[in-house]
Symmetry: C2
Subunit: 434 residues, 2 copies
């Protein structure tokens, strides 16, 4: 038996705005950041649980304060009890009535709870000596549904239906696990498409993406229609006809604007339109989906919780589900999201990039393939080749595919040197605050 003895938090910020990496129509100058959490125990095994919330700069200190607010829920707890019933552990945090008032189940407090949950999953996977995707994919259907909070979901999926989905996928698990280890999981790249890049850089990166074997690229749009048409023409010429190009508006439009703007880009053969409007606007997404069909609407990186995902599916507002590793209440809530997607027959193509989102979310897609949807058809994980060197077990993407991670854990552990170098106290270490 062991006990949690420490919850250490760090405000980590990378000065990415200097290069315009990550620039889009709504986020012109992000400083990619992580509100970082390490859970320590007295087990004496040298294992810690690491996780984080991805933010884009200012406010990362608020996110750290929310992680700090969970210390009292964690320190002194029996580790085996927490890890042995992750569903109960989720409820311990997410159902705290006083903390819940701050959302409920959305925003800073909910993301902090997600990071605490994910740190525990990281620790559980390390103890099991397995990468998270394999740990999850070897749990029984019963154990998996026990991790999910079905509150507010039962009009769309019941516990029994979820059990049915997982049980139906059980027979092929071993073969699919072996396949993943052999060939990996499809990736697509957003690296060419940031708004801050020159046309020359766009053209060059599009060609490199095809040469590198990626099956799809994605371009940011929504700043200026004439620019978007010029950039899409450059991209289309670079990748050739038929090659999938997705576009991403980062919530830039109202409903009518979205339909008009996307229609004006349709001639460039658009694979999907991502985040056309507010992530809260379920009915708006549904109206846009009707208005731009057959172009598909994709969303999810800012969807606050399973209840909003449920409705996007119910309303027909989301043809591609883009789960995010650190936006919702951790692995548990993303298992709920994967089950919803399977129920509605919608492919999951996770949001990634940022800081460590690729490292984290690959485990969820691979788990989905082995134990939930059972297919990679139409599925791929976003990939941005950025900041991976700061992680203890960085993703490996080759020929347009994520290789299945084999290191124990959830992939969410940063290198100690990077934590130290990019820790922020109003300035980076060694800098003078402005």
């Amino acid at each position: 038996m062991s006990t949690i003895v420490s919850v250490d938090t760090t405000d980590i910020r990378f000065p990415t705005s200097l290069q315009l990496d990550g620039s889009d129509a709504m986020n012109p100058d992000p400083d990619y950041s992580a509100a970082y959490l390490v859970i320590g125990t007295d087990a004496g095994d040298g294992l810690e649980g690491h996780a984080f919330v991805f933010t884009i700069g200012r406010g990362n200190d608020v996110q750290v304060a929310a992680l700090d607010a969970l210390r009292g829920h964690l320190v002194g707890q029996d580790v085996e009890a927490l890890l042995g019933d992750m569903g109960a552990t989720w409820r311990l945090l997410a159902h705290d009535s006083q903390l819940r008032w701050l959302g409920p189940e959305k925003g800073v407090m909910h993301m902090a709870i997600g990071a605490a949950i994910d740190a525990l999953w990281d620790l559980k996977a390390k103890r099991a000596g397995l990468p998270l995707w394999q740990l999850l994919a070897r749990m029984t259907p019963q154990e998996l549904v026990d991790t999910v909070d079905f509150r507010y979901l039962s009009d769309a999926i019941t516990r029994d239906e979820a059990l049915g989905i997982l049980s139906a996928a059980a027979p092929g698990r071993a073969a699919r696990e072996a396949e993943l280890l052999a060939v990996g999981y499809p990736a697509y790249t957003t690296s060419p498409g940031w708004l801050g890049y020159s046309d020359e850089k766009l053209d060059r990166l599009c060609r490199e993406a095809v040469a590198d074997g990626f099956p799809q690229i994605k371009l940011k749009v929504g700043g200026d229609l004439a620019d978007d048409r010029r950039r899409l023409a450059i991209a289309r010429a670079a990748v050739g006809p038929g090659f999938p190009i997705a576009i991403d508006a980062n919530q830039r439009w109202d409903v009518a604007d979205a339909i008009a703007w996307v229609s004006a880009l349709a001639e460039f053969d658009v694979a999907w339109i991502e985040e056309p409007t507010s992530p809260d606007d379920i009915l708006g997404h549904a109206a846009i989906a009707r208005g731009v069909a057959p172009i598909r609407v994709a969303t999810g990186e800012h969807v606050a919780n399973r209840v909003v995902f449920k409705q996007l599916l119910q309303a027909g507002g989301m043809a591609v589900m883009q789960i995010d590793a650190t936006r919702v209440g951790g692995v548990n809530e993303n298992i709920a999201n994967l089950l919803l997607a399977a129920k509605f027959g919608v492919p999951v193509c996770p949001h990634a990039g940022g800081v460590g989102l690729c490292e984290a979310v690959q485990h969820l897609s691979m788990f989905d393939y082995v134990a939930v949807s059972g297919t990679m058809d139409g599925r791929m994980i976003e990939f941005v080749d950025h900041l991976h060197e700061h992680f203890a077990t960085p993703v490996v993407v080759e020929r347009g595919r994520y290789l299945a991670p084999v290191a124990p854990g959830a992939g969410t552990e940063m290198r100690a040197a990077s934590i130290e170098e990019y820790s922020w106290r109003g300035a980076h270490v060694g800098e003078v605050p402005a």
Copy 2:
């Protein structure tokens, strides 16, 4: 010309859980709290802007951290410029792309932005020598729409439509202002209905509510159906047939449960069912509204922003809009909510109680009467007789009506002695932290 020179924050907590005041099906033991903000200037006029976010205890420190994160946006700014264009001021805070990532427009960060906005409205009203409701009610329709962010609203209400609503209400403003000053605004009371109270106390408080002249009472439900039926029978007997009794489930149910439970209470003649399920579940509210008709569905105290309010109206999921003074992005966003309600012909019956919510939200309802909806029909403001003594200008409720406040400001200033006595640093002043 003057400049903001200070943004002071305080973590204020009242130990209300000791009395079970405020206990409901989801919030068994709230400690009513306020993350409190004071904006100071160098104008030398002795005026400050005060505002707060209401929380229920744990996590109030996180909310204070979010207020602190706005200091850099405020200190050093030209006060007249901020107060002279509150629409631009709202965008300065709410459109900060890095902070926006933490929501967007929801949860801890959005509520903090709302408090900063409200503190500026408090200062603006004090400078004008007017209570906020009169300040707002004397702005031109053009000035009022300029405070509103119509992003994501245009499929439901355009700027021109909003101008039309405000212009149509302009002729009767002076008469309605005089009427408010003469007779006040209707209140209803939730004081009898907390789950933690005994049957004897419930009966006594119901009778007192009628004797005090309140036109409606509200009971918390959702803990146990048999208890709810017994308590509703007691309340109905106490108030007599035909007297409106609303019920409030505080998000307790899934969709099917809500319909079944409310149907089992219908015989007690229920005025509305409030928060039957997740505040994010727009489609769920619409399904419940269809399932329990003609009982009306009310919601709003946990609705994160104008985009969710818009959809609840579009979907027919909300027959009574319950705005909250500190849940959304401040006065500006609540003006948007009032305009949406007017467009859809839905009455606004604000959520209040908590800490200072009555003091704050009365200004919005009175402004609505004078300058937006132009009617009090079916409108009333929740009232809980609790913690008012801590405010510099506490509400005055007589014979079931809020008397129109006449003191300059937004009503959001607490007494200095109360701030000091209930400030929290892991314990109250003079107590030893646990």
